[in-house]
Amino acid sequence: MSSTGETQSSSEIIAHHLTNLTYGRHDDGTWGIAHGSADIAEMGFMAINLDSMFFSLLLGGLFLLVFRMVAKRATVGVPGRMQNMVEMAVEMINDNVKSMFNHKSPVVAPMALTVFMWVLLMNVMDLVPIDFLPKLAGLFGVPYLKVVPTTDVNVTMGMALSVFIVMVFYSIKQKGAGGFAAELSFHPFGKMALPINLFLEVVNLLSKPLSLGLRLFGNLYAGEMIFILIALLPFWTQPFLSVPWAIFHILIIFLQAFIFMVLTVVYMAQAFTVDEH
């Protein structure tokens, strides 16, 4: 923390940008902020990334606040600008959900909306110039700050696992525990090859949250990494490299949020569909 302001090597700067503000129990038994990734690794599971949680809750709360305000004042007549914007998002989600998910559920469409807007907002944090918030926080004595929650694998996997839990919940609810087990056991090769079926289906099932969470994490982490690398170059190169990458990154930001939402809906559709076997 005292190293801010002094000259750092490139690898130090990169490592600093990629380190979360983690709160947990130190080796010596005291609780506090971790200094460096080795410290974080020692803390193990019982630690929390304050920066990720802060920005994640802030952005999710912002989304819900704005949408709730609009929902409260939603008029059937001519909508205002804010309501128009919100309705655009809602309609986009609703159309997508309708085209992929043909069951009745009061949860799936709102979940898709939440996932999309939340991930989109978290991704958008990537466009904030890379040093702005960490330096600002540094002035207040915060040693580390990762502003893009979706570059934290905990956040993306947390969401992916939640989707997975909802998926398994609805699978069992729609098909019954037996039906769900049968789907896992008898699927590709018939009843004779039960162990092979089970193996394939379980791998298939577990790959869903893994690919969902890691895809988002990987894309955003890589994008963030390139911003960091660009930031290491001389200052006069910034407009020529940072700006084009940021513009291109807008596509990734939107696309990854959209993919996350679409896959969530697709998984829900699979959970709701009862196979005829």
């Binding site: 979360n20 983690t22 947990g24 990734s37 974080i40 690794a41 803390m43 193990g44 599971f45 019982m46 630690a47 929390i48 990334n49 990720s52 949680m53 994640s56 809750l57 999710g60 989304f63 819900l64 949408f67 709730r68 609009v70 929902a71 409260k72 939603a74 008029t75 059937v76 007549g77 909508p79 919100v86 309705e87 809602v90 309609e91 609703n94 009061p106 949860v107 469409a109 709102p110 979940m111 909306l113 939440t114 996932v115 939340w118 934290d152 694998v153 905990n154 956040v155 996997m157 947390g158 969401m159 696992l161 939640s162 839990i165």
Partner: protein, 156 residues
């Protein structure tokens, strides 16, 4: 890349946010949107209906106009006919009246003529008698000759 409680925190936030969205955000917005869509559909339908009604009314108006024109034409025709009739009647009446007047005038004339003739006859008779008296230079018994004079007068 260390997994820690952030994962759990994020998952809890996820469920809370989804619950909030499903309960307080999604239903009012989608409800308003659906209701508006319905309203617009109703409005369009009403507009269609109004257009149809207008067309119908226009057709009806045209029909009524045509009918009124026909009626008017019939009325005018009738009036013309009636006028002709009245003229004819008046003419007939006038002719009749004229005839009647002519006849009565003729009768009067005839009467007058007869009267004049009678008078003339009487006068001629008396003239003849006085003439004869003068010629005969004597008094003729008028009564004795009255038959003669009457016959003479009748021959006139």
């Amino acid at each position: 890349m260390n997994f820690n409680m952030t994962l759990v925190g994020q998952a809890i936030s996820f469920f809370l946010f989804v619950w909030f969205c499903a309960k307080y955000v999604w239903p009012p917005i989608i409800g308003a949107m659906d209701e508006r869509a319905e309203k617009i559909a109703d409005g369009l339908e009403a507009a269609d209906r109004a257009k149809r009604d207008l067309e119908l009314a226009q057709d009806k108006a045209v029909d009524q106009l045509k009918e009124a024109k026909q009626e008017a034409a019939v009325l005018i025709d009738q009036a013309n006919k009636r006028a002709g009739q009245i003229v004819e009647e008046a003419k007939d009446k006038a002719r009749e009246e004229g005839d009647r007047l002519k006849i009565s005038a003729q009768a009067e004339i005839e009467q007058e003529v007869n009267r004049a003739r009678e008078e003339l006859r009487g006068k001629v008779a008396s003239l003849a008698v006085s003439g004869a008296e003068r010629i005969l230079k004597r008094s003729v018994d008028q009564a004795a000759n009255s038959d003669l004079i009457d016959n003479l007068a009748a021959e006139l």
